[in-house]
């Protein structure tokens, strides 16, 4: 029974700016047949999903103008990455988990202090006497640098944003009719976790003449979203989605290099909502 309701929720389309948060209706339906058109049944955790990014209304005053050198692919990618982080860290949306940044900061500053200490020691003490300590310092520094590089390459990869959100949902748990529990104690905490990676794809696969500078020849920004929604402290899985999309940079940056942040945020919002709906593309 629960499975068919998921199909209905997808058929209702993506939310627009003005619709309320919860999609499913409250009125319980007596008819059990799945083909009864738009029959509403009690909301279960599978159909209902918390607010997606598109339902957050943003005013134009919130933003600073972003202007980059639109011939530099690195600057374009950094501008898009920053915009993703700004967009998804809004108070109503996800809370960014800074684990990768903190690990990089910690390891980096530790290696700087090791290097500074070793150099200072070598400066103060005679060369011959300082050799053992300086050698140890050098080995520690090289080790930390290798760990940093491996972490950035394997663990962090192309990650742009890792976020978490906890929402409270006042709803009926699917097993409430089996247990003799009162309705008021059926609050559940839904935990969501989202993970975005980005990369730049070159323009060579788009057209035959990649050497001509034109908007159709622009490199593309590829964004991949992985989304997990669970409850009961991560023990029951509610939804899982993974999507990927690419769009040319020229769709978001004009010829002066000014970024059209609304269009970009709309594109990101749609992609994230696809992920939240559980698409496994």
């Amino acid at each position: 029974m629960a499975r068919t309701k998921k199909m209905q929720a997808d058929g209702e389309g993506s939310s627009t700016l003005q619709t309320p948060n919860k999609k499913a209706n409250r009125t319980p339906s007596p008819s059990p047949s799945p083909s009864a058109g738009r029959s509403r049944e009690p909301p279960t955790p599978e159909t209902e999903r918390p607010a997606g990014p598109l339902s957050v209304v943003l005013t134009a005053l919130d933003r600073d103008v972003v202007k980059v050198n639109n011939a530099n692919a690195t600057e374009l990618k950094n501008a898009c990455d920053d915009a993703v982080k700004r967009y998804l860290s809004r108070p109503e949306l996800f809370k960014q988990i800074h684990l990768h940044t903190d690990v990089r900061l910690g390891l980096g500053w530790l290696s700087v202090f090791v290097a500074a200490g070793t150099a200072f020691y070598g400066y103060k003490v005679d060369f011959e006497k300082s050799k053992p300590v300086v050698s140890i310092g050098l080995v520690v520094y090289i080790f930390l640098t290798i760990v940093q590089t491996l972490y950035a390459y394997f663990v962090e990869g192309n990650t742009v944003f890792v976020g978490k959100r906890k929402t409270f949902s006042k709803r009926v748990s699917p097993f409430s009719h089996l247990l003799s529990v009162t309705r008021s104690s059926n609050h559940q905490i839904i935990t969501e976790r989202i993970h975005l990676t980005s990369s730049t794809k070159s323009a060579s696969h788009l057209s035959q003449k990649p050497s001509v500078a034109s908007p159709s020849n622009s490199p593309s920004y590829q964004l991949a979203v992985t989304y997990v929604r669970s409850t009961n402290g991560g023990k029951s899985l509610l939804a899982k989605g993974r999507t990927k999309a690419a769009q040319t940079y020229s769709a978001f940056f004009d010829d002066q290099g000014t970024m059209d942040q609304e269009a970009f945020e709309r594109w990101v919002g749609e992609l994230v909502e696809q992920g939240m709906d559980g698409k496994l593309a």
Partner: protein, 189 residues
Amino acid sequence: MFTEELKAFRRLGFRHVLLQVLNFASVIASGLMIWKGLGIITNSESPIVVVLSGSMEPAFYRGDLLFLTNPASERYKTGDITVYKIPGADIPIVHRVLETHDVRPKRNAAVAASVTGPNQLLLTKGDNNYVDDIELYQGLEWLERKHIVGKVRGFLPYVGYVTIAMNDFPQLKYALLGGLGLLALLQRE
């Protein structure tokens, strides 16, 4: 120019500022470590030096960059070009070895064992000088191995003038460091 950058920093947050400063600091740290690593590998206190005087002409001119190594087990021979530092004098001197004498092992074995490699006594002279370096030794009769910074293995002409310029005009040094720092802080990888 800076108001833009300060606004950007405030927007991006404290972590971002820490990251940018880390970029700059880690460049300096890696430079220091490369220098120290080179010193350990070559067993020399200062493996790269700049020639300051003309006492080794026509072999080396002022402004040449010299590369040194100091293997502990190597014997120095007449004709080797060495860089040495007299205790009490600040500046290392690069001259050629004129005479070498081997020190006979002392009867006290413990003392002899603390010296790694052959212990030699050396006399040096600059190619472009008329007399040997006795006057420069500040009272010593011979140079010992422990005074030697290293033996010259190779050189690059003219490159050392950058270091000479930065020593003669310290403003240049600070300007260069300041410029590098600004570049590292304002750039994103």
